[in-house]
Symmetry: C2
Subunit: 215 residues, 2 copies
């Protein structure tokens, strides 16, 4: 029995971030699959995205809010640094993931390959992929340099920032250019290998997208 | 003399959020105008957006990180609730502003009117404005309902969430549909009137965009 519910689908990187946060804290939860066609979902998430979250009477949407709340109200390892400038660094990388990595890596690259290919006969549009890769290489380079200075994004310990980035990098590693990209960014590759060994990562490996071909 | 620098232009809503945070805390700072053409700016903000921030040896980008840091390291009124579920609510609205309000209100509406009109002869594209207004009315309705339950977004006191939203709503109020929109959402109008009286708001009123016609 649990009074914690996550609303969403397990293929969503933001849903995985919230689930990994709960797993890291050792909090049991139910995953309730969202039916997009259900008009009632707007009562749970007024902008109709995922995840949404319920803990007893507390209802939240937006992963930033949910992950912080889970870290702050449940026992278990702290996932936010105690020191102000490290905490700021964590928020900087969370925000950079949500602003730049999601825009250019998730929407222009992962989505083009696995969710909504826009090329001829339902194949990925090569020109769009190549165009996205220019920005992706820039962004991954920024993160690779940051990870050259510390084991994790906000210092020597795993924080919420790592949990925001890793679901996206897990998809990147499985794309056709994944090996090439990780080969070019060794700090990022080392970080991804360490993150992939965590129980929270293994417990939340997403199933294939419905209708997507296996890769 | 101050060891705090904000990098950006005063017309940017995110720059204004950070400046209002500093004003609310009573922290003196320099505003250093960003020269986009300067290749050195990438050393300050690797994704070349604004604002960026420096406090002594601490260098940050992303408003989420900067505003939280300023609140946590400087004296002055607390701008983040002490209670976990109210703090989560604050983060929920910050994230909703950054995800949905910026995407649909700033980029599709304010930018179309004042920064990069894409219609004939450099006028705003009416079809784009009307299309954006459908989403804008939805989003402002969500916020209006939230403000029907409390004076400010995360409860009875001003928090960072209000400082993220108000620079955008200030622009909205000056657009051709501004009066109509605020008339339709009385809780939002009441909140904007209260926020507009604050010294931090008045001290950061943005000058016109360079090259934009007065309205």
């Amino acid at each position: 029995m649990t009074d914690v519910t996550v609303y969403g689908v397990p293929q969503s990187t933001f849903v995985r971030t919230v689930r990994m946060t709960l797993e890291e804290k050792g909090v049991p939860y139910d995953l309730q699959l969202v039916q997009w066609s259900d008009p009632d979902y707007e009562r749970i998430h007024p902008f109709r995205r995922m995840p949404a979250f319920r803990h007893g009477d507390v209802r939240l949407f937006e992963s930033l809010a949910i992950a912080g709340y889970v870290d702050e109200v449940f026992a278990g390892p702290r996932l936010q640094p105690a020191e102000a400038s490290s905490r700021a660094l964590m928020r900087q990388w969370i925000s950079a993931v949500c602003d730049y990595i999601v825009a250019d890596v998730t929407r222009r690259y992962i989505v083009e390959y696995v969710l909504r290919p826009s090329g001829p006969d339902g194949t990925p549009d090569r020109a769009k992929i190549e165009e996205a890769l220019v920005d992706i290489r820039h962004h991954l380079g920024v993160i690779d340099r940051a990870l050259g200075e510390s084991a994790y994004l906000a210092g020597g310990e795993v924080t919420l920032a790592d949990l925001f980035l890793v679901p996206i990098m897990d998809y990147v590693s499985k794309m056709p250019e994944g090996d090439e990209l990780l080969g070019a960014f060794p700090n990022l590759a080392r970080w991804l290998a360490a993150m992939s060994d965590r129980a929270s990562f293994i417990a939340t490996i997403p199933p294939p997208f419905p209708g997507a071909s296996a890769d």
